[in-house]
């Protein structure tokens, strides 16, 4: 079993992977579902709105909030794992 790489470079690439994952979601919920894919999602309804309209005016905003907290939690865990955290 290889020992885990705890170098600064490994910390940075773990960070980049996490950021990339979050930004894919950021893009899909807003630009993807809210703008480009709206036509395709026309049949799906959220109450009285079509899904694309709801994502554009409501859903993407909620997702952004969740996404930032998710990122903060995961990054703080990474900081500890790689022993670069504060205090």
């Amino acid at each position: 079993m290889a020992t885990e790489d705890k170098s600064g470079a490994a910390y940075w690439s773990a960070n980049l992977r996490l950021v990339a994952f979050c930004l894919v979601i950021w893009f899909v919920v807003s630009f993807g579902m809210g703008i480009l894919g709206r036509e395709a999602l026309m049949g799906v309804k959220v109450g009285g709105l079509d899904l694309g309209m709801w994502m554009a005016q409501q859903g993407s905003l909620y997702t952004f909030v969740v996404l930032i907290f998710f990122y903060a939690i995961r990054m703080n865990a990474l900081d500890r794992k790689f022993d670069v955290h504060e205090d």
Binding site: L23, S30, F31, I68, F69, E86
Partner: protein, 591 residues
């Protein structure tokens, strides 16, 4: 108690509160003046950031914009919130770790160039000044509408308040005032929205009312579509003119938001790197409360307005409201000039319809209608008149006045701090007199703040003719110059001084050029090359949406130039390494 007295009491009480905070939160060092001593709790900073960010435009104008644009108004909602995701993941934590006071300072150090720092200072000042004009204007207008004083008097009162807490307290005073201002503005926004939603849908939560049923039993959106298409308007949730334009518009607002210096410096006030991450999340929570309410307010206000005028079936003899029977709020807003009626067919009734719709015109003529008679419906009414339309008590109307003022003042203060710190810290301490003492710099910062307030006040009183256009310029500049420079400075060790400078200059040049050819050079009327209409735009891209293209140009030029020239020196590469690692941020608060 009459409305005017009530408004004076409510607005006066909020001002007394801001004043009290100013006395309590005086700044005694440059660290406190520029970054509130880096002791702000992340939740508190989130709240202050929300107030800092949400301007007079967000509070007063945005719901009205959405009301008339329908689905497409989502570009403002996504654009002005999605930027926080970028801030939280790409900029704020690293810039906090860098541990200095201003955005140009990072650009100057990272690209080891006073030239780069200077370009950033110029961008910052242009962005912030253009932005602050609108806030000062907002203060004056809010005063004049609600307190019946003239715009100039209102503006002086606003300047006086900002002067006290910004000059005395710097970032520290501004932060605590912004927290109070957030609470005032969010109550003022949500309370009327709850009642409007209750009236129309029976649901007290506007976000649920928007997707719920109208009191008549059909979904609210269906009811709204029916009501406005019957009068020849386009469907509220209809398709957009150009998906490409909406895409780029949204992207430009997002990266522009992330690149606005007055927002970025708010994240310098928290104690740790991890706090900067949390704080961005909290900021967006507080912002989203208003931003998810706004589309509900927009849709509901549009339905309310149309239903007030079109009381019966379209075209029936009693279908339209008689002018003599118009409600009190209609009269109130007529006197402000934001609502105008002209009886074109002389029948004493109000016809409000889309007279530019050719197909509907024939029908309208059949009814004896001679054109749309609501000749002006200012979009700001959609928020400002809401409490009156819903018959809410006077204290709610007074609160809306205080909320509009809080939104404008909090944003103005943040912008003024960004301007004054760029002058005293980047220009004076950084370039002109590096030997200046701590006390000297603090004094200079206060003088720069006072000067910035006077310039902003002057421009608010004598707004250049282009005031309405400048938001496009501010976001375009931030998107095409500052955001890419910061991001490359953190995420690449290879981008060097030449690349960064040429990248910024070419990104912002092409963006400004594209705005100028449609809006006039330096916004001087008559100097534009083409009329700013979709048919003339390159690939249908509006000038407001061009910042994203400018950013792309910036990235490309910076990369190519850097690759063709020498890599940055080792100490700069070490600096980038240190910015990427959170440990040590608490200590890195010096100069």
């Amino acid at each position: 108690m009459d409305l005017k007295t009530m408004t004076y009491i409510v607005v006066g009480a909020t001002f007394a509160l801001y004043f009290g905070i100013a006395i309590w939160a005086r700044a005694s060092s440059t660290g406190e003046f520029y970054a509130a001593g880096r002791g702000i709790h992340p939740v508190a900073n989130g709240m202050a950031t929300a107030a800092d960010w949400m301007s007079a435009a967000s509070f007063i104008s945005m719901a009205g914009l959405i009301a008339f644009q329908g689905y497409e108004g989502a570009k403002f909602l996504m654009g002005w919130t999605g930027g926080y995701v970028l801030l939280a993941m790409l900029l704020a934590p690293y810039l906090r770790k860098f541990g200095k006071y201003t955005v140009p300072e990072f650009i100057g150090d990272r690209f080891y160039s006073d030239m780069a720092r200077f370009v950033a200072v110029v961008c910052l000042i242009v962005i912030s000044i253009t932005y602050v004009i609108g806030q000062m204007r907002g203060v004056g207008v809010a005063f004049s509408r609600f307190l019946e004083v003239d715009v100039a008097t209102g503006l002086y009162a606003g300047m006086g308040i900002v002067f006290v807490y910004a000059v005395l307290g710097g970032m520290k005073g501004i932060t605590y005032t912004q927290i109070a201002q957030y609470i005032v503005l969010i109550l003022a926004y949500t309370i009327p929205a709850i009642f409007v939603s209750l009236n129309l849908t029976g649901n007290p939560i506007p976000q649920l009312g928007l997707i719920g049923d109208h009191t008549s039993g059909v979904p609210l959106m269906e009811k709204l579509n029916q009501t406005i298409t019957d009068l020849g308007f386009g469907k509220y949730d209809g398709p957009v003119r150009s998906q490409l334009d909406m895409f780029l518009y949204t992207m430009s607002l997002m990266i522009g938001t992330a690149g606005l210096p007055h927002v970025i410096i708010r994240f310098f006030t928290v104690p740790k790197v991890s706090d900067a991450r949390w704080s961005a999340g909290w900021a967006l929570v507080f912002i989203a409360i208003l931003y998810t309410t706004a589309p509900a307010v927009g849709a509901m206000a549009r339905l309310n307005l149309t239903d007030t005028i079109q009381v019966g079936a379209v075209g029936s003899p009693d279908g339209n409201l008689s002018y003599a029977a118009r409600p009190q709020w209609f009269k109130n807003w007529e006197t402000t000039g934001l609502l105008k009626f002209e009886d074109k067919n002389g029948d004493g009734k109000i016809q409000y319809y889309n007279d530019k719709n050719k197909a509907f015109q024939a029908k309208a003529e059949g009814f004896g209608w001679k054109g749309n008679e609501l000749t002006k419906v200012d979009r700001d009414i959609m928020v400002l008149a809401n409490p009156e339309i819903s018959n809410l008590p006077n204290w709610v109307i007074a609160l809306v006045a205080a909320g509009g003022l809080a939104a404008a003042l909090s944003t103005a203060a943040g912008l003024l701090l960004a301007i004054s710190s760029a002058i005293s810290h980047d220009l004076l301490k950084g370039m002109i007199r590096p030997s200046i003492s701590e006390r000297g710099e603090l004094l200079a910062a206060r003088i720069a703040m006072a000067g910035a307030i006077f310039v902003a006040g002057y421009l608010g009183l004598n707004p250049p003719g282009f005031a309405a256009q400048v938001v496009a310029l501010a976001f375009g500049l931030a998107a095409s110059s500052i955001f890419p420079a910061l991001m490359m400075g953190i995420f690449s060790k290879r981008i060097n001084n030449h690349g960064a400078i040429l990248g910024m200059v070419s990104g912002l040049s092409i963006t400004i050029f594209y705005i100028f050819i449609y809006k006039g050079f330096f916004f001087v009327k008559g100097t534009e090359w083409y009329a700013s209409v979709p048919a003339n735009w390159w690939m249908g891209i509006s000038p407001e949406a061009f910042g994203a293209i400018g950013a792309l140009v910036n990235f490309a030029v910076a990369y190519i130039v850097s690759m063709a020239t020498a890599a940055p020196p080792q100490k700069i590469q070490d600096l980038v390494e240190s910015v990427r690692i959170p440990r040590g941020a608490g200590a890195a608060t010096g100069h």
